[in-house]
């Protein structure tokens, strides 16, 4: 046997790329032939413009930056293998195990908004680790999303009850950005804004921030306020005087040092000064404390992390925001709202969407798009599982242990202040450093407030033995102080702060307290959601590709999930090695020089990238540059982010072919030559086209003094074939939850890191608590913009997913994935082109990784609109493609590389069958009103009703093609009345009798 055959035989039979990519080699050959090509290379040559092509493979060997890569070096030494090919699943799990082992899981009592908690195993396994819950998209097609919509309604109800404010949304990115969003609400609600003529920027008003807010919250507020012209006043709420009007004020409850303050008087002073009063509140504390809604709060925000969501070294976690009824149309983010379907059955859907960026664009209440739905679902389920009694028990125990600790410390002679507390103490001591060292020796982290103060926060996981150990560290009594813990004797929160109002009284929080009941509830909801476990989800621009199990497994390993974001860096070496490697890989993939992993959503990446550009101009003395050119075809987050970055949006037209209108761009670049800050482009375009003028577009912007921002949402058509930096762009964000396999979770979590060229690296985001660019050869980040996220690396807990994906695919695999993604889209376009017009094509009549089909004509010919087609697809067992974006009345299809040929064919068969159904209406065979499209989706209730009122048979409704029987997914509700839901906002769980009548 010769050497080659031997090594062939020894070659690892596990090739992950084959598992990730849907079509088999034979299928690929067949699809290429159908399109008229003999090889993939010839096909790609025809589709992707020559002048932007990479000429050599990606070099993914590694960043070469000190510590971390040593751990991975042994992998690179394997004979006969290089990073072109990628690791197998077993190898990547072994590599991640080694990385994880470099993380030290100490017991952290650091607090500051992050607390250890117990994730109920039933929730961990059946939601966090269950693709039936984490592979869904945002619930825009509500009829097949009733599961997660109900879970979000539970989350909202929990927030409404605990905060005492009647309107809540379905999650924000983290507590600090939630505070920034609340500040934005104050700005929008303020009656008048003064425009400063010279800078063109608004002197928008004053916003007060209590110095006892968590420091990362204060820092994010500072970053957010500056470009909007908001002047922050940071100070002591007890001492501040408002002698001029203010936009609003924010305080922490309990404060970051643990103190519980009476804010009633302060609330009055804020209101008298014309401002809104915002409370950053702790959800667990609210089970015992008077809720903000009862003492003058207009808005409450906070993190839901401690309700059963792992720390993850900073995220992902869901944040919440609740407010008064009168502000409901100003709140950011998605809201789950109750309406009913055409039969009158209660149904949940996303309400008041006209606030959001995809409709309102630069006038949106926020740029937020992807939020933290999966984590909000988990937090809501934690409340469902524990119920009000269980939560109160947890809170009471935490409080009792804190009192025990406090008494022990005071007995040992330490001062802990006079203010009442819930779970956090601030201890004054000149021996702080020694105490921290003693703690570390026991693998314990305390909070280093300053040279004279130590903070300790207890949590759900703390035991009496832990308290004894803490007292020992402080040199105190080693026997726990006896505290009577019977219900009558529990240490009390002072009377004036005690919560009197009941909460979580709805039956959903009082019915599922055995594990069996909880398990069944979770699965009952899951069964109502169509996810990637059922069928392809061909949403254009969402990139619903495989979220491989091997990628997901490490997420719940303790060494990744149980690390507090503010532990000393040396305890998180595994994470840091992973960050360095991932940054190096992303830099290679994009061609940029520097990467920031801080933004935890694509919209956040856009915002951060624009702030970087802004800082760049400021550093060159060009503060006047504040205009941002954005094409009409851009995603709504683009103009919304530009407005948040203090820029003025100028819209650039698109031509008849759907590409950026060069003449209009030239004219506007010239008009705004003195004030141009940036242009935002998407490449390939949002229409799915590799615009051939892309280099020219970048040149035009550069010549006018602007920087080019690229929206990286469509990177799935570029990886390995071309690089954003090489094309001429300066900054781009990546959607790791699209291109790099982080699951969509039903609307989050996401990650939106940015890449920048060398001249912008200095301005990447910093963080006040853990420096993010310690190892940068250039500096300590002195010129960087402030933090845009609460945690320094965004949501690190899910970064192992993208790391694993890149490691397993290798350069070859990534390139193949891109090629197959483009092939799949073109194959679908080919199969459908005889039935639906394909809108917009590029070079040689090809599309990139997505295609748009036009259904607008059917309005006239058959009384059918795009919504009807979307709902009818549900009857076939499919989620619709992206509806009415970027072009109203059309559908944008992105299959991704993960879908097999069989699934592509099935989807095309469904759409072609629907075209035939439309033809029947056009020809008069089917009625214009009473037809399968108008009445879609058909529920099992509808199809089994005794009297069948329709002109077509039941079978046509539910099983339009024989193969549908094998793949049937029943929508839980019929078509939902959206109008009713927006006219009557109900964002909390309705009483049960609402369901009985239906």
């Amino acid at each position: 046997m010769d050497r080659e055959t031997l090594s062939d035989g020894l070659r690892d039979t596990e090739s992950f790329a084959e598992r990730h990519i849907g079509p088999r080699n034979e299928d690929i050959t067949e699809m290429l032939a159908a399109l008229g090509y003999a090889s993939m290379a010839a096909f790609i040559d025809d589709v992707v413009p020559d002048d932007i092509r990479l000429t050599s493979p990606l070099d993914l060997k590694g960043g070469g930056i000190e510590s971390g890569t040593a751990i991975l070096a042994e992998r690179n030494l394997d004979a006969g293998r290089d990073c072109l090919q990628g690791m197998s699943e077993s190898e990547v799990l072994a590599a991640l195990k080694r990385l994880a082992a470099a993380n030290l899981v100490y017991r952290s009592y650091i607090g500051m908004g992050y607390y250890n908690c117990i994730v109920p195993p039933v929730i961990q396994r059946n939601i966090l680790e269950n693709p039936g819950w984490y592979t869904q998209y945002t619930p825009y097609q509500a009829e097949i999303s009733q599961g997660r919509l109900e879970a979000l309604l539970n989350f909202q109800t929990m927030v409404i009850d605990l905060t005492g404010l009647p309107v809540a949304n379905a999650s924000l990115l983290d507590e600090a950005t939630a505070a920034a969003e609340a500040m934005g609400m104050c700005l929008a609600a303020s009656p008048a804004r003064l425009k400063s003529a010279s800078t063109g920027r608004n002197e928008s008003g004053i916003f007060f921030v209590s110095e006892t807010c968590h420091p990362q919250t204060i820092a994010v507020l500072q970053t957010r306020a500056e470009p909007l012209g908001i002047q922050l006043r940071i100070g002591n709420h007890e001492e501040v005087d408002f002698d001029e009007p203010i936009l609003g004020a924010i305080v922490q409850y309990p404060a970051t040092d643990g103190a519980i303050h009476d804010y009633r008087g302060f609330a009055e002073r804020v209101h008298n000064a014309g401002g809104l009063f915002i409370i950053a509140a702790d959800l667990l504390a609210l089970t015992l404390l008077q809720p903000p809604g009862e003492f003058g709060a207009d808005i409450a925000i906070g993190s839901a992390q401690r309700f059963g969501v792992p720390l993850g070294y900073g995220g992902p976690h869901a944040a919440f925001l609740s407010t008064r009824e009168e502000f409901k149309r100003r709140i950011p983010g998605r809201i789950a709202g109750v309406s009913h379907d055409v039969t009158g059955k209660p149904a949940i859907r996303l309400a008041l969407q006209t606030r959001e960026q995809h409709i309102r664009r630069e006038k949106a209440t926020s740029n937020i798009c992807t939020a933290q739905v999966l984590l909000a679902v988990m937090a809501g389920m934690y409340a469902v599982y524990h119920g009000p009694t269980g939560l109160r028990r947890i809170a009471a125990r935490v409080h009792a242990l804190t009192c025990m600790l406090r008494m022990g410390l005071e007995e040992a002679g330490y001062a802990t202040g006079d203010a009442p507390c819930f779970d956090t103490l601030c201890i004054q001591t000149p021996a702080a450093e020694e105490i921290h060292a003693a703690a570390r020796a026991k693998q314990i982290n305390l909070r280093p407030i300053d040279a004279m103060h130590i903070g300790i926060s207890l949590d759900e996981t703390t035991t009496a033995a832990d308290v004894a150990e803490l007292l020992e560290i402080f040199g105190g009594v080693t026997e726990p102080v006896e505290i009577e813990t019977g219900p009558a004797r529990l240490p009390r929160i002072p009377e004036e702060f005690q919560r009197k109002t009941p909460y979580l009284t709805h039956p959903v929080f009082n019915s599922y307290h055995s594990e069996t009941e909880m398990l069944r509830y979770i699965h009952k909801l899951q069964a109502k959601d169509l996810s990637l476990v059922n069928a392809m989800i061909p949403l254009g621009s969402c990139t619903m590709k495989l979220n491989a199990t091997a990628e997901m497994v490490p997420v719940t390993w303790a060494e990744f999930s149980d690390i507090h974001p503010f532990v000393p860096r040396e305890q998180a070496k595994g994470y840091h090695a992973l960050f360095e490697q991932l940054e190096a890989w992303l830099a290679e993939i994009t061609g940029y020089s520097g990467i920031s992993l801080q933004p935890n959503a694509g919209s956040q990446g856009e915002y951060a990238g624009l702030l970087v550009i802004r800082k760049y101009h400021l550093s060159r003395g060009e503060a006047r540059r504040n205009v941002c050119l954005i094409p009409t075809s851009a995603h709504g987050t683009n103009p919304a982010s530009a407005v948040m970055a203090g820029m003025q949006v100028v819209v650039v037209a698109c031509d008849a072919a759907g590409n950026v209108d060069l003449a209009d761009l030239r004219e506007k670049a010239e008009t705004y030559r003195e004030t141009l800050a940036a242009a935002m482009l998407t490449y390939p375009s949002t229409h799915g086209v590799f615009e051939k003028e892309i280099r020219e577009i970048c040149d035009i912007v550069h010549r006018a003094g602007g920087q080019v921002y690229m929206d990286g949402a469509n990177l799935n058509a570029l990886v390995g074939l071309s690089r954003p930096a090489d094309i001429g762009t300066d900054v781009c964000h990546l959607n790791l939850h699209k291109t790099f396999c982080i699951p969509h979770g039903g609307g989050g979590p996401g990650m939106g890191p940015i890449g920048v060229k060398a001249h912008l690296v200095d301005f990447l985001p910093t963080h006040p608590i853990v420096p993010t660019r310690l190892l940068s050869p250039q500096n300590g980040g002195a010129d960087g913009i402030g933090p845009v996220s609460a945690a320094p690396w965004g949501s690190p807990g899910i970064l192992p997913i993208s790391w694993a994906y890149i490691a397993m695919m290798g350069a070859d695999g990534l390139k193949s994935a891109t090629e197959v993604a483009i092939l799949n889209a073109n194959y679908i376009a080919k199969r459908l082109e005889g039935h639906y017009p394909i809108l917009y094509t590029g070079k040689n009549g090809r599309v990139a990784h997505e295609c748009i089909i036009d259904v607008r004509d059917f309005k006239k010919t058959a009384n059918v609109d795009v919504t009807d087609v979307a709902k009818r697809l549900m009857d076939y067992g499919f989620h619709a493609p992206t509806v009415s974006w970027p072009v109203l009345g059309t559908m944008m299809i992105e299959p991704t590389e993960s879908e097999s040929l069989a699934e592509l064919e099935r989807f095309c068969d469904a759409l072609i069958s629907i075209r035939e159904e439309i033809a029947a209406i056009e020809s008069g065979v089917a009625d214009r009103e009473d037809n399968v499209l108008k009445n879609a989706p058909h529920t099992v209730d509808a199809v089994t009703q005794t009297v069948w009122p329709h002109a077509y048979p039941r079978e046509a409704a539910a099983f339009p093609k024989p193969w549908v029987r094998e793949h049937k997914f029943w929508p839980a509700v019929a078509r939902i009345n959206e109008v009713h839901g927006d006219r009557n906002l109900v964002c909390a769980c309705p009483p049960l009798d609402a369901y009985r009548g239906a």
């Binding site: 309102r360 309005k859 009384n863 959206e978 109008v979 839901g981 006219r983």
Partner: protein, 174 residues
């Protein structure tokens, strides 16, 4: 029908689904006829009168109308606009006492899927807003010229009305 092209009638459904237009459904060539959906109510065609473009109003290209009553202008959106927008779920209006300027935004009107800025036909002080729209924004759909009025402005300069379009011109440019 004065001023309307031949065959261009609005057709609406009653609650029981039957047509209520002066002309039977099949004969109606209105582009908006085809947008009628089963669960929508619409304003009944008013006995053949040209209710769609009342002669006594002034119009803007952006589909607002103004009715003059001495020095006060009542403002709303046209029947054409409300039919295009379809079911209105919310109207954002300025506070009484706000000063508005001709052709600048004074509010927003929203359907489920879209939001439209409203532009003031004349300059002046807002002396009244239609409070009924808070609970029943659908009045703008069912009665765009009467119950669905939006705001009343005490005009700074009534002569500004002359810059607006008359019914025929407005209708032609749709």
């Amino acid at each position: 029908m004065v001023g309307l092209p031949e065959g261009r009638w609005w057709a609406y459904r009653r609650e029981d689904g039957g047509p209520t237009c002066c002309r039977q459904m099949g004969e109606c060539a209105s582009i908006l006829h085809n947008q009628t959906r089963r669960d929508e109510r619409k304003m009944p065609c008013e006995t053949g009168q040209n209710a769609m473009f009342p002669q006594n109003l002034r119009y803007m290209e952006s589909h607002e109308w103004a009715r003059q009553e001495e020095d006060v202008a009542t403002v709303g959106i046209t029947d054409y606009a409300q039919a295009e927008i379809q079911d209105i779920v919310y109207v954002e209006l300025p506070e009484v006492g706000t000063h508005v300027t001709q052709k600048t935004e004074f509010g927003v009107i929203e359907s489920v899927k879209a939001a439209f800025d409203l532009y003031a036909p004349v300059s002046g002080e807002v002396i009244a807003v239609n409070e009924t729209l808070v609970d029943a924004p659908e009045h703008v759909n069912t009665s765009p010229y009467e119950d669905g009025w939006l705001i009343k402005i005490r005009m700074d300069a009534p002569v500004e009305l002359e810059a607006l379009l008359d019914a025929e011109t407005y209708q032609k440019q749709i």
